[in-house]
């Protein structure tokens, strides 16, 4: 304990930091409340050991826009080690004949409410929107995640290996999002993607003003904007107080007194420090432009606009500011701000050399995200843009990984990256194609041919009949 102390104290100074001190455990630090705060809710996920694996002669959509035919893929100890023709199998490797099959990186959904709005969708389970105040940057979606949500395994059967779980969009600041690996676990921490940055969900437009219009506001879009600005002004002050304090401590000032902690402000400070990524629900082009102005006023970066139905109208602006447009393939009409949908949205963002991502925001669509990509690709091709499946698959793989700050680990089939791999029984963008096998960190976690070995949620056991599980 004494040996660890200096490092743990250092951790306490950066209590608002996300990644620092990931190894400090609760039991080590329980005696000192300051230390307990340092690394709460850290991932406990450990990749299971798995045999080396080689899949031969498959069609590979790499995830970065490339396509390789008749190619072998090898992974060992959780990492992709090689791809190429006629590779030598590692010793003891499991071999699969991939002829006629396609391989992609594990699918990534950057906008999911699995766990926070689980099924059955009863009020007892509705934990995704803290609708008590328009600014709740203090809440963390991960604290609402129910790991037994039967949606997780259905998404896995659709090839989804990673999902960003976000709070809902009732509030201007909805709270922190979390990236989960789609693995069975009794605890949320067991699913949490190690060392993935948090996100902060912000929301533009109709939802906050509808929810709070008769509850003290905001009641208008200008009210929304005033709400964001007021929060960022407070955050800037908080950020300065803590930065001054940390600098004093670093200079050896033993009399420096720590400012009081404020969970709301800690999240916003994390954004200002560049440690938390902004994922901003925002449909309309003009509002996206306003939000970009806002981010410049307060010196933070927007990582992605979600549900960006009008992204195509400001595609060059998004590209210039390095902001991903996270869109549905074709949803529209449920709100006025979702009226101007075009099926070519993702393709037009891509045409402007921007970062396009297709998300689900939906428990049905998350099970077939490649089909959503297929629709968006086909619509673009119909009007004369030439987009191939290899390019389009980026919208749910490498581009998605980039927006989560995880492109150095997932989203591409490349040596050194996590072996999150999906084997499809055909072109994944087809309505008829299914995931045959899914690996996460090299471990086979779904196998369509061995349904009895696939994990099923506690919820499903014996719920249709005493002996039978939910199908």
């Amino acid at each position: 304990m004494r040996k660890r102390l200096p490092r743990l104290i250092a951790c306490a100074f950066v209590a608002t930091s996300l990644s620092a001190c990931a190894t400090a455990s609760l039991s080590d630090s329980a005696a000192d409340p300051e230390l307990v705060k340092a690394t709460p809710f850290a991932s406990t996920y450990q990749a299971p050991s798995s045999p080396p694996t080689i899949i031969r002669d498959a069609t590979l959509l790499i995830g970065d826009g490339e396509r390789l035919e008749n190619t072998d893929l090898v992974f060992e100890q959780g990492k992709i080690t090689a791809l190429g023709e006629n590779l030598t199998a590692p010793e003891g490797a499991l071999e699969f004949n991939g002829e006629g099959y396609w391989l992609t990186p594990g699918i990534i959904d950057v906008h999911s409410h699995m766990g926070v709005y689980p099924n059955p969708s009863i009020s007892s389970h509705a934990d995704g929107n803290e609708i008590v105040s328009p600014t709740t940057a203090k809440v963390w979606a991960e604290h609402s995640v129910w790991p037994q949500d039967p949606n997780f395994e259905k998404a896995l059967a659709g090839g989804v290996t990673t999902a960003q779980i976000l709070p809902g969009s009732a509030n201007l600041f909805g709270g922190r999002g979390v990236v989960l690996k789609n693995v069975p676990s009794i605890t949320m921490m067991g699913m949490k993607f190690p060392d993935a940055p948090h996100s902060l969900k912000m929301a533009c437009g109709e939802n906050p003003k509808r929810v709070y219009g008769e509850k003290g506001g905001p009641g208008t879009r200008m009210g929304n904007m005033a709400g964001y600005r007021a929060a960022w002004i407070s955050a800037a002050e908080y950020h300065k107080k803590w930065t001054d304090y940390e600098e004093s401590v670093a200079k050896g000032d033993k009399s420096a007194e720590a400012p009081s902690r404020d969970l709301e402000m800690e999240t916003l400070r994390g954004v200002l420090k560049g440690e938390i990524n902004i994922h901003n629900h925002c449909y309309r082009a003009d509002e996206m432009a306003n939000m970009i102005e806002l981010s410049k006023e307060f010196g933070y970066k927007i990582t992605a606009f979600h549900h960006a139905v009008e992204a195509y109208k400001v595609a060059p602006l998004l590209a210039k500011n390095d902001i991903c447009a996270v869109v549905w393939a074709d949803w529209w009409g449920f709100k006025q701000e979702a009226f101007d949908m075009v099926r070519e949205n993702a393709a037009l963002v891509e045409l402007a050399r921007g970062c396009a991502i297709i998300h689900s925001d939906d428990e049905i669509q998350i099970q077939r995200l490649p089909q959503e990509v297929g629709k968006a690709m086909a619509a673009a091709n119909l009007m004369g843009m030439e987009i191939t499946p290899a390019q389009a698959i980026k919208w749910i793989t490498s581009n998605a990984a980039k927006s989560l700050g995880l492109d150095d680990r997932i989203g591409t089939l490349a040596a050194g990256l996590n072996a999150d791999v999906v084997l499809w029984n055909g072109n994944p963008l087809s309505v008829y194609t299914k995931a045959e096998k899914v690996w996460i960190d090299g471990a086979l976690v779904f196998d369509r041919r061995n349904p009895d070995q696939n994990h099923t949620s506690d919820f499903n056991l014996g719920i249709i009949s005493p002996e039978g599980d939910r199908p």
């Binding site: 075009v342 037009l348 086909a378 009007m383 719920i463």
Partner: protein
């Protein structure tokens, strides 16, 4: 942007026909996909005069002054039918002024006839038509009682769109019925029983009711009047129900009450598929649903369509997911996923064309044969494949534009992008 792409774009723009036109058309070398048994590899010519298919075969001659379209083996299907939408009665979901799908007026339940609110100029109608949907059952949404009102069949034309004003009487049982009836699905059943008994009594004693010498009824005069065709077996009762036990219960109820049923929802239909088949009750559902969204759909599964069909149940589809109005044409994606989960392909096609045509009495629509109405779609590929798109949409022989407000927006911003 390459000049090649620009050229392709201009070409596409010039090709857009924005006005419906009815000229004689010969579609050569089509693969006919209408869910009937035939050799799918065979290339067939389809000759259309006016609103009708007048010739079907090989080597048909082009009509004088008519158009000839070479399908080059691409599929032609009947225009698609979605059996549960709110097209024309729900423009922008969250804008109440544009939504007429249901009423909270407690004096209007069974007597609500959704065709009275239908607006064929809805942006969503032109959009879905341009993507291959030509027909739909418009179902009212739940109001204050268990009866939502009368569902109507429309075709997606600009005028004369209503084909059947009263196609079915929509009633909710199960959880939704429970909520409408005050907290028990048994109360919903009791309300239904009382309503039908009252309708029967009313139909026999209209005069004494008018004199004020008949007992009180549970519903208004107009609501009762709307239920009379139900008790006379002239109008099917479309019951929204999911739980296996509720389905069994309502099958039994319908037999005793001598009413004709259509079931809608049927999330756990597979568990009682034999009983539904034996009662010869057709069903409407979205085959893509496979999650236990509620305690009455715990058994929801991806092969519900296959199991129901295998048992002999006649199926109709809606979808996809909750976007079954603004993206009603995606019923074909739901149908494709049903095929991916074991449903025979031709049955999936029937479920979105000929089955609703038979059940709602639309002679001429739904099959591709001589004498049938020319409500057809020529597809770039398999109509159930998400990567296919319509290349020609005809309703009753009239060609409809493939343009929509969405393509207009697309073209405006595409042009800006490539010129910058």
């Amino acid at each position: 942007m390459s000049s090649l792409l620009k050229a392709a774009f201009l070409f596409a723009s010039l090709n857009l026909v924005s006005i419906a036109s009815a000229a004689d058309i010969l579609i050569k070398n089509a693969q006919i996909v209408d869910g009937q048994s035939r050799n799918v590899d065979q290339k067939t010519d389809i000759l259309i005069k006016g609103s009708m298919i007048v010739g079907l075969g090989t080597g048909l001659s082009a009509p004088a002054n008519g158009r000839v379209i070479d399908a080059k083996g691409r599929p032609v299907s009947a225009g698609l039918f979605n059996a549960d939408t709110q097209l024309g009665v729900r423009e922008v979901g969250s804008v109440a002024d544009t939504v007429d799908s249901g009423t909270s007026n407690e004096h209007i339940t069974a007597s609500l006839q959704i065709s009275d609110a239908y607006n064929p100029s809805s942006v969503a109608i032109a959009y879905n038509r341009s993507l291959g949907l030509t027909h739909s059952l418009i179902q009212p949404s739940n109001g204050s009682g268990i009866f939502a009102g009368k569902a109507s069949v429309v075709r997606l034309t600009d005028t004369d769109a209503i084909l059947v004003d009263a196609a079915a009487m929509v009633v909710s049982l199960g959880e939704a019925g429970s909520e409408l009836a005050g907290g028990s699905r048994a109360a919903a059943m009791a309300m239904l029983r009382e309503a039908l008994e009252d309708a029967r009594d009313f139909s026999k004693h209209r005069e004494s009711f008018a004199r004020g010498s008949r007992r009180d009824y549970s519903l208004s005069r107009h609501d009762l009047e709307a239920l009379v065709p139900v008790v006379k077996r002239q109008l099917p009762l479309l019951v929204r129900v999911d739980r296996a036990a509720d389905i069994e219960r309502v099958l039994d109820f319908a037999e005793k009450q001598k009413v004709t049923l259509i079931l809608s929802g049927v999330g756990e239909g597979w568990r009682v598929a034999d009983k539904i088949a034996k009662a010869k009750v057709p069903v409407i559902f979205d085959p893509i649903n496979n999650l236990p969204a509620s305690y009455e759909t715990l058994g929801m599964r991806a092969d519900n369509a296959k199991i129901l069909h295998d048992a002999g149940v006649k199926i109709m589809f809606t979808g996809m997911g909750w976007q079954n109005t603004h993206n009603a044409y995606l019923v074909r994606q739901s149908a494709g996923n049903a095929v991916a989960n074991g449903l025979p392909y031709h049955v999936a096609i029937q479920a979105i064309t000929s089955n609703p045509a038979q059940i709602f009495g639309l002679p001429g629509y739904g099959e591709i044969k001589v004498g049938a109405e020319a409500s057809l779609v020529l597809w770039s590929g398999d109509p159930l494949e998400v990567m296919s798109n319509p290349e020609l949409v005809l309703i009753n022989g009239e060609e409809y534009s493939l343009e929509s407000r969405a393509t207009r927006l697309r073209d405006r911003y595409y042009t800006r992008l490539i010129n910058n």
